[in-house]
């Protein structure tokens, strides 16, 4: 039987006294796109930030329960090692403006002082940019600054930066919310390529996007994981009335 890439067991997260993620249990397998959706404030982004331990960086934040990455408790791992294995792409493209495209892709290595030969660097940059479907557009401008690119290209550069570290999981926090429809379509197409090598967890407000790109969907409401099922089931015959109310726009 296939081993899960990520297991979440009785997981809770708080900001001070406010419990934002409540007793979540979830098992994820490799090479899938998992959409996480729910209304604002439902805990979906907090949950995502717990998977690479960014939640704990907020003062007063705490967690309880377990998240196992290939059987290993992430709260017993070094956060740095964890973040090498769990990459993250944010809502707004955030390439380092002072670095070139080439250096942006290698930023994870540079910031963690991981030594690489010139040949290794070149290979990682090309491979990551190809996987992020950006190589053909930037191969002649690798020495230009990252902010010279369009919004969609910048977001693909951020994806290239994340996958350059060869992560197991890629966390995408509303990666297209700041992009135009064409760039959004490009990123959505890219997720289908990326899942051949990685497991993608995508937080999105866009239900059509979740329906289009994900294999499984998790619906959060008021910190609770209400339903987790194959995306086809969620969008044709959800089991929980709250899921149905949300996806049909009848949520009060």
């Amino acid at each position: 039987m296939e081993r899960p890439i990520l297991e979440v067991k009785h997981f809770h997260a708080w900001f001070g006294d406010h419990e934002v993620v409540k007793d979540v249990n979830l098992t994820l397998y490799r090479n899938k796109v998992i959409a996480v959706m729910g209304p604002s404030g439902c805990g979906k982004t907090t949950f995502l930030r717990c998977i690479n331990r960014m939640h704990e960086l907020t003062p007063g934040a705490r967690t309880e329960g377990e998240i196992l990455l290939e059987g290993e408790n992430i709260y017993e791992m070094s956060p740095i090692v964890l973040r090498l294995r769990v990459g993250m792409v944010f809502q707004r493209p955030n390439p380092f403006p002072h670095l070139t495209i080439y250096e942006n892709v290698l930023a994870g290595y540079l910031l963690n002082n991981i030594p690489l030969s010139r040949t290794e660097k070149d290979a990682i940059v090309e491979d990551s940019l190809r996987k992020a479907a950006l190589w053909n557009e930037v191969k002649d401008n690798l020495k230009k600054k990252g902010n010279f690119l369009s919004g969609g290209q910048q977001q693909r550069l951020c994806i290239a930066r994340a996958i350059a570290m060869k992560p197991d999981i890629l966390l995408l926090d509303e990666p297209t919310s700041a992009l135009d429809p064409i760039s959004t379509a490009g990123i959505e197409e890219l997720t289908q390529e990326l899942k051949k090598n990685y497991t993608l967890i995508l937080v999105t407000h866009n239900m059509q996007q979740a329906a289009r790109v994900s294999d499984e969907t998790a619906f959060f409401y008021m910190g609770e994981l209400v339903e987790f099922a194959p995306t086809r089931q969620i969008f044709t015959a959800p089991r929980d009335q709250r899921t149905q109310n949300y996806i049909t726009g009848r949520f009060s």
Partner: protein
Amino acid sequence: MTALEHALKELKDDVILMWIMVEAQLQAAHKAMLEYDQHLAREVMQKEKRINAYELKIDEQCEDILARYQPVAVDLRFLLAVLKINANLERTADIADGIARYVIDAPEGFDHDLLQSTHLLDMYTEGMTMLSDTRIAFEREDTALARSIFQRDEIIDTYNLQALDIVTEHLQQGSAHIRQELLVLSIIRKLERVGDQAKNLAEEIIFYVEAKVLKHHSRKEL
């Protein structure tokens, strides 16, 4: 009410109206057959065009809702069910039209004893009741009522099978009304299709309300 809910309600109201129009067509064809009223039979044929136009109108509404709202879950199932219900209703109206044509083709009024002995009248009554019950099931989202249709369709199927033997026997006895006997058999075949259409309609109601696909399942599984 959201714009989608409003559009879906309007669509449901229109489907119910289509249903009632089709029921009226079957009733009118029934009356034309019983009373050998060829004028009424022509009216049925004339109104068939109105049903066809209404079918197109409902199809367009479905297209519009799909394009504008991208419905999901129960809304998507409702829309998919309506597309099929619409086609089933139009075919049921075709059956009424076909029966009306037989009335026009008939050289004389139908022999009521023949209509009784072949169970044509029983089939007709059952077929019309099944059609109106599926409409009520659709309106109320009553899947228990929808499920009752499956058993009733079997009664119609049984009458249909018996009818061939009955008509054959009449013919063997030297019936002087061969054409009428054959027309009665043809009407019975059409009524058997009314039962099938009612069953299809019931399956779509269950799909829409319960997200269960019953098509191609045996009766035991239903």
